[in-house]
């Protein structure tokens, strides 16, 4: 026998509220979608297109040109930079999580001797940035100048991420840890076999935070890397975006016959693709991870 369910009756104020929310979300959608669509269509714009940017957004797809993508993907420098960025993100995220997880776990143990002092020591550099020169000297003294590790090692531990993860670890029932300890588990065993398997949402979330940071990092590679074959994508991207040479100093631009603006848009879009691909897979953990972490102090 089917149970009849009656729909929830919405009052006039509820309907108004939901309408406003929906209108807001639609507007938000356009705020995000229009620039994205503009960039995508610009990247496919043919050299002979005549019209405004707005008209270009509605150019029929069969009139699009893939010259910009062909030029970029056929350019050795782009491929090398892309590979360097992948190396940085892979080793950067692995290193960051390697340091962040044990640190956050240690700080989440309430009986840890000197815990409050340790937290303060970690918070001080978070609040007072040391500046470029001391950082440069440290990297230089560590012998990391002109090595990819210089890009991610100095920033491998983010205090903000440590605190979020610490909050998540504190939310794991104490009884679970206690019973493991009673059974003879060491802290390392506890972390590896119980805490980490239970913390997939926060690890993926924080990993995404780190990943996005390393992927987009322009400043550290610019400062610490000298060899051109080590330069990651953001450096090349910036060179492409601000290159004035394309118009004024050569007869043919470095990427062949594709329009300059299309090259710029295509490079922006290609650089965003890894994040666009990764995000949906991590999205389901995202809100869970950040929310659980954020409500614990």
């Amino acid at each position: 026998m089917k149970v009849k369910t009656s729909p929830i009756r919405l009052t006039a104020s509820d309907r108004l509220f939901y309408s406003l929310i929906n209108i807001f979300l639609v507007m938000l959608f356009f705020v995000i979608a229009v620039p994205l669509w503009s960039t995508v269509t610009l990247s496919f714009r043919p050299n002979d297109f005549i019209g405004t940017n707005f008209e270009g957004m509605f150019l029929a797809p069969w009139k699009w040109s893939n010259a910009a993508y062909k030029a970029l993907l056929g350019n050795n420098g782009f491929i090398i930079a892309f590979a360097n960025s992948l190396k940085i993100i892979f080793f950067g995220v692995a290193t960051a999580l390697f340091f962040t997880i044990p640190l956050a776990y240690s700080l989440s143990i309430k009986t840890l001797p000197g815990r409050a002092v340790l937290v303060i020591i970690i918070l001080i550099p978070h609040m007072f940035d040391v500046g470029i020169i001391p950082s440069f000297l440290m990297v230089k003294n560590l012998g990391l100048i002109d090595k990819l590790a210089a890009v991610f090692l100095p920033t491998a531990v983010s205090t903000y991420n440590v605190l979020i993860m610490k909050g998540f670890f504190e939310g794991i029932p104490v009884e679970l840890k206690e019973s493991a300890r009673i059974d003879g588990a060491s802290e390392l065993y506890l972390l590896m076999r119980i805490i980490i398997p239970l913390s997939k949402p926060i690890i993926l979330t924080i990993g995404l935070f780190y990943g996005v940071t390393f992927w987009n990092d322009f400043f550290h590679p610019m400062l610490y890397l000298n060899s051109n074959h080590l330069m990651p994508l953001p450096i090349l991207l910036r060179n492409i975006l601000i290159a004035s040479g394309m118009n004024e100093f050569v007869e043919v631009n470095a990427f062949g016959e594709a329009p300059v603006q299309s090259i710029k848009a295509a490079s922006v879009f290609l650089a965003a693709i890894p994040m666009i691909i990764a995000y949906p897979f991590i999205q389901k953990y995202f809100s869970k991870g950040t929310l659980l972490g954020s409500i614990k102090g």
Partner: protein, 523 residues
Amino acid sequence: MKKRLFTVLVVLLLTAALAAPVFAQSAADSGKASGPIDIELWYGAAMTEAGPPPSDWVGYSVIKDKLNINLKLTALPSSEADQDVKISAASAGDNLPDLFMVRREVWLRLVEQGLVAPVDDMYAKMPTRTSVQYDEDSRAFTTIDGVSYGLASPGSIQKNEGVLIRKDWLDKLGLSVPKTTEEFMAVMKAFTFNDPDGNGKNDTYGYGAFLELNNYEEGLGRRLDPWFGAFGVPGTWNLTKADFGLNVRKPAYFDALSFVKSMVDAGVIDPNWLSYKKDDFRAAWKQGRFGIMREQNAAYAATSNYAPFDKNFPDGGFVVADPPMGPNGDAAVGVYTRAFRIYALRDTISAEKKDAIARLLEWMSSDEGYFLIGWGVEGVNYTLKDGIPVADGVPDPEYAFTGPKGQPVTQLRNLVFYNGKVELSSRYPTYVTATSGKTMSALDVLRDFQSRSWVPTIGADTLPPPGTDLKRFYEQSVAEFITGRRVLNRANWSSWVAEFDKLGGKAWEDAGREVAVKNGLLR
């Protein structure tokens, strides 16, 4: 348990193997030979987006074999601000390379801190290079208290912009090339309201511009400078003995600003000029949006830059016009100075390395170095036609010096070019356009631009810059006067100048005068 331990060990080993290149010294540093001298050079790339010379670039082996130098190259970041950060951080960390390009402001600070080496003794060791690159002006540019602390090579080509006007529009409307500001205004109105392209739409404008403020430029920027030239106040500084000072403080600046405002009020300037970026501006004239502009010679006439316009308007075309003449007979496309690129040596450089650098630079200015660094290898990257390197006739056009794969081998060309005849003829070849079959030459356009009226302000780029707040106040205010956010009348303008002085404008002018007099810049 053992199996798990084994798995962990394997994973760790694999990770370590993968990580090795990430932590390892870069390949260029490995395997240093004991014989040749290592020289580290941070250079300004000719085309930062094109990538560095490849590791098998023939230049490396020639330099090693002939000069006994292991050259290690690093391209500086593309933006000057980023270059400054990198150089400043390296200098603070005592990590400057042997030879590096540096902007004058940062270079001045390095000189004050004693972080760059004197180079006076190097000029005599480089006779060929000194004769083509380091003239009196160049040495003066890097000389402080009688000591030269850097090697200043000629920078970008001067007077390479000009006033261009759509000839086909003039013809269609039965107008002649305007000369005075009044005539220009009449033509701009006709271009805006009389449908010069005949498409039946009110979609064209008289003048096109955008806010372009490069180093040592203030106000509304170079794209509107012809209008300020018409009133005798182009650029930031007046460097004459009779009337030295900041142009913005002169009464004629108000007249010039009023004229530009009248263009805005009349609707004859493309209304997007405040939001346009360089690419937008260039896309706009190629789409036939406006009929008069100040543009750079290659951006206008080089093959790939002119092609879209030629395709869109095969019967159209621009001609070079004299800049508008103002009520007192003044006219100027703008101002020009002599630009230099400074290459400095770190202070702790050894005498042996200094000699090696002199050897390297002298070789770069020899015929062999000049052609190899400027264009690549003959028969691969270029062929010679009447002594001028051209891209035609190479086996693979991709590897021509203008092609995507050929450009990286010419990244150091700014170290050898000095705007001589060979390089200009090569850079701007005469060609026939694809659609209309017109004969075009960016070099002819350049010569034409250079023959028009310009105001010299040699050394203006060595005068002290304004403070950040003052510069912002200056630029924001003139834009506000033009757009009507501030009412432009003589009383308001006088009040504004008084406020400008109070905020440091007068002190800036006084500081400029002191430097200009000291360095003999007034004419």
